[in-house]
């Protein structure tokens, strides 16, 4: 059978465009989605109000959780209907033969505001979405630090303060789980494995479009009294809260659905859509990390959704699963939540490590050291992460006899984490190192995560945990691992792949200013918090001991400067992409990885003119005579690029 080039170049059928018909404003886009969302909210809210008027808890509290939740569910349905995401599932009910999953070949910027099936468009949507979510939650963090400037004087009202804390935590934890999978997993990994399409493009698109509505719902909580339970949402406090808690449940739940959709797609794509010759032993490290991530999400997130669902029922249908007064138990939430919650933090760490191990060899001109060990490290992290959740509950009073076991499993996690350091040290040994901006960020991950990892030993040691549990020490620990790890890797990846994604080269000079300010102020912000925690300051408080004021002020000022560094990034990034637009050279970093050998930057629709045949391992930087990574590599054009940084 001949290869159909008309499809590959995008001139063929475009009937896969969801929604189809209509033009202008009525063509499905974010505008129709918003209209649909408003209508759906009104309908759902009306239904909710119509049958609950006589309910005791509704009359007593003057607020209606049932109407709130039904309103938001209606909003989500309306949103997806407006996006045109429901057209295909409905058409299928009437027996439409599934179209081959055609990416939308639409041109121009408007495609970024539509439900599209092109993994690259989804990747870009995710990239900007994630930046917006990150900056919103970051601003909330600055609001927290503003309150903590003084131990007794209160900028915010205490209820506002605790709501800000909860919003910051929830938004960061739920959104940032997709911070690498969303933009780079969706955009780059299919290119890396040499495929022209992904397994489930509709799930992939759906996964992105869950995030804006989830962001909106969560943020809307702030205007409805918020939720005072933090991102951990411990019951029965979360059962007690007002309607703001419903935004937590729905926002987190929708983001959970988004992660399930995204990980189903990425797992099926990596397993089934690798180009010929892309054997498991040639799969880029990034691919291994995404695979481990995907499986971990699939096995942990349904449990989170269960927990949120049970919480929603306790709040609306008045079941009592989380309330011991009626036969439930607050421990049930702690178990369900942390059974998800601990894999969750590895969901944040694994993609960061994947990026590190992927990018460092490019700038070391050496094969990645101990490739199999790095893959084993990701898989080990993924598996062990399911056996440690009780370490969040060392002081909870449940099952003390299990503590030594969970202390052991938790500390065992240091071993696969240590693999990542082994990989880094081995790769840099006898290397030829270029300290470009992406490389600096990856080294920054190693620097920061070291503190996060070492303090992890304190936190996992039960006797020390008695002092540090629930204190700023723990808070500093996980900011070191998450922000110091995955967020640094995320920014490094932005600098690394922007030329590919946009065709524009970012300034190295500005990038280095961003890096150095960010790492200095990051450490200056979070390092003192270890001391603050050890000296007895619990998390999420608005009043603290006077003797800790200097340290807290230091931290707050550092946090502002860290914010300024990130603002600097935001401005220079947008400015360079929108205004100065310096075209990139081909393969600017001299990478061997397949994604750089596409026809043009950004890659054309369908990625490759023809399916590449992978000829060698992508990390053969040490062997000048190694075969190129795939047969599509053009010797003159690709292997002798002008832009040797």
């Amino acid at each position: 059978m001949a290869i159909d080039y008309s499809k590959a170049t995008g001139t063929g059928s475009s009937s896969g465009a969801p929604g189809g018909g209509g033009g202008g404003l009525l063509k499905p886009s974010i505008i129709t989605a918003i209209i649909g969302g408003v209508i759906g909210w009104l309908v759902g809210h009306w239904i909710g109000n119509s049958f609950t008027q006589g309910y005791q808890q509704v009359q007593g509290s003057g607020s209606n959780d049932i109407a709130e939740i039904l309103g938001y569910i209606g909003m989500v349905i309306g949103w997806f209907a407006g996006l045109g995401a429901l057209n295909y599932p409905i058409k299928k009910m009437f027996g439409a033969e599934p179209e081959a999953d055609e990416p939308v070949t639409e041109k121009g910027w408007t495609k970024y505001f539509r439900y599209t099936l092109d993994h690259k468009t989804v990747g870009v949507q995710y990239l900007f979405g994630m930046l917006i979510y990150f900056f919103t939650a970051g601003l909330l963090a600055l609001a927290i630090r503003t309150e903590l400037l003084s131990p007794t004087y209160h900028i915010w009202s205490p209820d506002t303060y605790i709501e800000i804390v909860g919003e910051h935590g929830t938004m960061m934890m739920m959104m940032m789980t997709s911070v690498v999978l969303g933009p780079f997993g969706n955009y780059v990994v299919p290119l890396m494995i040499g495929t022209k399409r992904v397994a489930f493009p509709r799930l992939e698109a759906l996964s992105f479009w869950f995030t804006p509505i989830s962001y909106f719902i969560l943020l809307s909580g702030l205007w409805q009294g918020g939720f005072q339970s933090g991102w951990t949402g411990y019951a029965p406090l979360s059962v007690q809260q007002g309607v703001g808690q419903d935004t937590y449940i729905l926002g987190f739940g929708l983001q959970g659905l988004s992660m399930v959709c995204a990980s189903t797609n990425i797992v099926a794509t990596i397993i089934n859509y690798r180009a010929p010759g892309m054997s498991w032993s040639r799969l880029p490290v990034m691919g291994w990390s995404m695979l481990s991530l995907g499986f971990t999400m699939i096995l942990s997130i349904p449990v989170l959704i269960d927990g949120l669902y049970v919480l929603a029922l306790d709040r609306t249908a008045q079941t009592a699963l989380l309330y011991s007064g009626h036969g439930g138990s607050s421990f049930l939430w702690e178990n369900l939540f942390w059974f998800f919650g601990h894999p969750e933090v590895y969901l944040l760490a694994i993609p960061g490590f994947g990026l590190v191990a992927e990018i460092i060899p490019v700038f070391a001109r050496k094969p990645v050291f101990a490739y199999k060990t790095s893959a084993a490290g990701f898989i080990g992290l993924a598996i062990l992460s399911f056996f440690v959740w009780q370490h969040h509950l060392f002081q909870s009073g449940m099952n003390p006899d299990m503590r030594p076991l969970f202390m052991l499993t938790t500390e065992l996690i240091s071993i696969p984490t240590g693999f990542i350091y082994l990989v880094g040290m081995g790769t840099l040994w006898r290397a030829r190192i270029r300290l470009t901006t992406p490389m600096l960020f990856m080294l920054g991950v190693y620097f920061n995560f070291l503190f996060g990892g070492l303090t992890g030993v304190y936190v996992s040691d039960v006797p020390i945990n008695v002092t540090v549990h629930g204190s700023f020490f723990v808070m500093a620990h996980f900011h070191y691992t998450i922000m110091g790890g995955v967020i640094f890797a995320f920014f490094g990846a932005i600098y690394y792949w922007t030329p590919l994604v946009t065709g524009y080269q970012l300034s190295e000079k500005l990038g280095k200013i961003h890096f150095w300010t960010m790492i200095v102020f990051f450490n200056s912000t979070f390092m003192p918090l270890f001391a603050v925690g050890l000296l007895g300051m619990p998390r999420r408080v608005f009043e603290y001991a006077h003797r800790l004021q200097f340290l807290n002020q230091w931290v707050s000022v550092s946090a502002y400067l860290l914010g300024a560094s990130l603002l600097f990034f935001a401005i220079t990034f947008v400015w360079q992409l929108a205004v100065t637009r310096r075209p990139t050279v081909r393969n600017p970093w001299g990478s061997r990885s397949l994604e750089w050998f596409v026809e043009s930057y950004p890659p054309p629709a369908y990625n490759f003119k023809r399916v590449p045949v992978v000829l060698s391992w992508p990390y053969e930087y040490g062997d000048a005579n190694a075969l190129p990574v795939a047969d599509i590599v053009n010797e003159t054009k690709d292997l002798d690029p002008v832009g040797r940084a």
Binding site: I162, P236, S324, G325, I415, A431, D461, G470, V541
Partner: protein
């Protein structure tokens, strides 16, 4: 070093010579730093030595902190050396292949073994110091398995509610106080429970932390050693006033404690009569005090 010699710096021979030097540097630096941590920083580490459990926690933190510098310096020295030594020099082709090796079975094997041994040792260390000091001051739930083995401990029930701690003293007529005084040189059993949501009783200087769960008795032990003031804070987010849910307690001499307790018993006598009978958990009466969230029928009542 001339430009021609650059690639010699990446040869196995060149690096083989430098590894012992780096290891020597590592041993010296981490030894100095570890000694400083143990002797200079160690005695000042939190949470102090007011109780056996606090002293135990201080020892654990001190010990683990002493292990930190070797790890830090190992990573820093090897990363630092690589970054300085093998950074691309001006005039060098940045894309030329560096060394070509994908692994090193000896280095990898040593790494796996050493990390595993360290981790297993830490787990054993932690377990020992959890079990020996009677649960190390952590909440052990309703039926503690690591106990001090002392009869007639001072019983202090900690009742958390949104948003204050109160303390109940079954050995003093079941009185309930809003302040807490403890006698020195005494084994104390805290019975921590909650009236509503999850709180956490964190007596920082006592080295005690136990979640206060509704309908659950969470037991923690401590033995007081020094006089002084301690801070009690709530350490699980419990709502709007979580940040303000703290009070101060005092470890005083046994005589002063008796005096305080007797005085409190008299002062609170009238209200003590109104309190429910002492029990290890504290469930408010079903009718009326629940805010009317659940339907009014008591699920325990027979249908």
């Amino acid at each position: 070093m001339s430009h021609n010699a650059l690639d010699d710096s990446r040869s196995v021979e060149a690096t083989r010579k430098v590894i012992p030097k780096l290891i020597a540097l590592w041993i010296v630096t981490s030894l100095i730093a570890s000694l400083l941590v143990w002797f200079v920083l160690g005695p000042h580490l939190p949470p102090g030595r007011m109780t056996d459990q606090a002293a135990g926690a201080q020892f654990d933190i001190r010990f683990v902190s002493t292990l930190v510098p070797p790890v830090l310096f190992f990573i820093w020295i090897f990363f630092g050396y690589s970054l300085i030594k093998w950074r691309v020099k001006p005039g060098e082709d940045p894309l030329a292949p560096a060394a070509d090796f994908r692994g090193n079975s000896k280095a990898q094997g040593a790494w796996y073994i050493i990390t595993t041994v360290v981790v297993l040792f830490l787990a054993a260390f932690g377990t020992y110091y959890l079990v020996v000091p009677a649960g190390a001051g952590g909440g052990e739930g309703p039926s503690p398995i690591w106990t001090p083995g002392v009869k007639n401990m001072l019983q202090v029930q900690v009742i958390a509610q949104q948003w204050r701690f109160t303390y109940r003293w079954p050995q003093f007529g079941g009185m309930e106080t809003t302040s807490i005084f403890l006698p020195v040189n005494t084994e104390i059993q805290f019975n921590v429970t909650s009236l509503d949501v999850i709180h956490d009783f964190w007596a920082y200087q006592l080295g005690v932390k136990a979640d206060a769960n509704p309908d659950v008795n969470n037991v923690a032990f401590t033995k007081t050693q020094q006089l002084g003031r301690f801070t009690v804070r709530c350490d699980e987010l419990c709502g709007v006033w979580h940040g303000a849910m703290y009070n101060y307690g005092y470890v005083v001499s046994q005589a002063q404690f008796q005096q305080w307790a007797t005085q409190m018993e008299t002062q609170n006598a009238a209200v003590t009569k109104l309190l429910p009978k002492y029990s290890t958990t504290y469930t408010p009466s079903y009718a009326g005090n629940g805010g009317g969230y659940y339907p009014p029928q008591d699920p325990n009542a027979n249908l």
